[in-house]
Symmetry: C3
Subunit: 254 residues, 3 copies
């Protein structure tokens, strides 16, 4: 791992926190790849059920200087806690010191300056490959509405059925205390678009769906790509950051 | 138990939640009796210390159709959780399906439709009788003020003394960390009316008083009917629902 | 202990709560000394790491009548809970009844009257002496800003380094998940004044610093008096109450 000097400046430290939180909901550690294009992170959650792919283009930074590609392995939970200390209107500068093998986070606003240093982790894990799936259905749904649907489902079961057919998106859950059925036609306020080449249905763990949609703004769109009994792909944007998740379906054992 | 078709529609699902919460604070399961007059529920709490009597007249519904008297046994805690998922402005339709022996709850607002199904419970327990007590004192007190008095008392003891005499209502509590005395004259903002035929005083468990008054709106009135060392009757309204509770006093063992 | 009649009236009961909370964060029991000058309390925390010195002058009361010096030993945690029950606009009258050996707290506002009685504790402990330290540095810092600095530090370590030199105030923390350095020049918004006769640095337990600054208003000033490896003195005002704390430094064992 060649660590070299870099300096990244973000004008609003809190926006960077939102991006990191979208990842930390799923994984506790991760390796950011910093290159001329921007910041990237792709990693599996510890149980290998979900993959997160995060990119923040260099245009999201007011200063973005990196000599060559750098890998920065970090404890994301610690990073999130430090970013949570950012105050309104604070600027954040990220830099590396080769000798110390530490990430430097400098918060500044006017005369006030605070700097945190975080130890870098070994970046042993290889960048995982994105699974190649030819999806049969694409659903574009409002972020806030989809989160509400999931919470309805989470009330009854630890698993949620996602179902796309014709021009309809269906969320189902079944448990001891009751059953839920939410059928929403396309071109509504909640479900903006449903494109289907083949009826697609699969069952996913509620906790994961809840975690991986949590960072999506309520007024943003979520893209859900489905294929029966295959992983779902869930994508959305947080400011300039692009987030995309793959989540494995529940496999029924006969 | 003869289960027949019925359909009840409430224009504001959240109001129905408030009614159910007034019962669920005390009992986890209950049997609603649906008849032409409306909805009724009367049940003892599991420890047999308190009885709740709930009625919601048919006029509280925008549609109220029931062929014959129906008993609907439900897990009220589950019902409350499902009702908590209702969103602002949503309509709620309740119906029964004879084959499935399930209660159907359809929330709707505009294009959005969600339906929950809940299993019905066996309604083994008989409708308990109301105790016949000739009370000696009647106190009409502001809901918010009475809840504050109870919280003052709950700070010091697990038991609260309620006391009505002449034109005065008194709340007392005694504990290791201190004593409390609240004397309030009638015709004040807090205590609107005190009618006494005989001085009445009794001691009640704080937790129960707290639970059974919780659903009362702060700006509503609570009617407290007392007789020395006899159960108290506490009644109030939540919208169109009428709630009345009997609570047994603490019996001093000599 | 000679208990005599006294009567103290505070026009805003909630202000008295704020004062008591500044003490209760550190100690669970204490003895108030009531004399013609006002109310005083000086006590060590149970682990003997911190000392609190509290004075509230008689001018903070709308009525202050005391025949001779009185010691009132109280469970401060219970006192704080009772004061938390004060409502907006309520007056508080404190009095003593010799026979009962109890403190009477009467809350009143308009027609509403509530009275709590608290048992008095034995006031065995002697009034501790203030340590005599000739400090080498004095820092005047904004209350809200200092609390934020402490929280930054508390994220990383259970100990915080306070450091004053030239015209600069420095807060440091070091832990497994990272390091923190906050350097603030004097005459800034956060650090209003730094007076140094000798560079002073010492390390203090985070929890204590957090507790003893908690009652300081965000827009108030905190005075920090330092000497290397000696106790720090932290002082501020809450309304008319004066609070001053001594806190022992961490002693490094070689």
């Amino acid at each position: 791992m060649g660590v070299v000097l870099m300096e990244l400046v973000i004008d609003d430290a809190r926006k960077f926190k939102q991006c990191v939180d979208a990842v930390v909901n799923l994984v506790g550690e991760g390796v950011f790849e910093v290159s001329k294009e921007g910041l990237k992170l792709r990693t599996m959650d510890p149980s290998q059920i979900a993959m997160v792919d995060f990119t923040l283009p260099h245009s999201a930074f007011s200063k973005f200087s990196v000599a060559e590609k750098v890998n920065i392995g970090l404890n994301l939970a610690d990073l999130s806690k430090i970013l949570a200390r950012s105050r309104s209107g604070e600027k954040l500068a990220l830099s590396l010191d080769e000798k110390e093998s530490r990430l430097m986070l400098k918060f500044s606003s006017g005369q006030s300056k605070r700097s945190f240093k975080m130890p870098l982790l070994e970046s042993g894990a290889a960048f995982p490959r994105e699974p190649k799936i030819s999806f049969d259905a694409t659903v574009r749904v409002n972020g806030g509405e989809f989160k509400e649907m999931l919470r309805d489902a989470g009330l009854l079961s630890s698993h949620v059925t996602l179902h796309a057919r014709d021009s309809e998106f269906i969320v189902e859950a079944h448990g001891d205390s009751g059953d839920l059925l939410i059928e929403t036609k396309a071109d509504s306020e909640a479900v903006k678009e449903v494109k289907v080449t083949a009826k697609s249905v699969a069952v996913f763990p509620y906790d994961y769906l809840d975690n991986l949609t949590r960072a999506c703004p309520d007024d943003g769109d979520i893209l859900i790509e489905l294929k029966s009994d295959a992983p779902v792909r869930v994508s959305y944007e947080v400011g300039k950051a692009k987030l995309s998740y793959f989540l494995a379906p529940r496999v029924e054992t006969a």
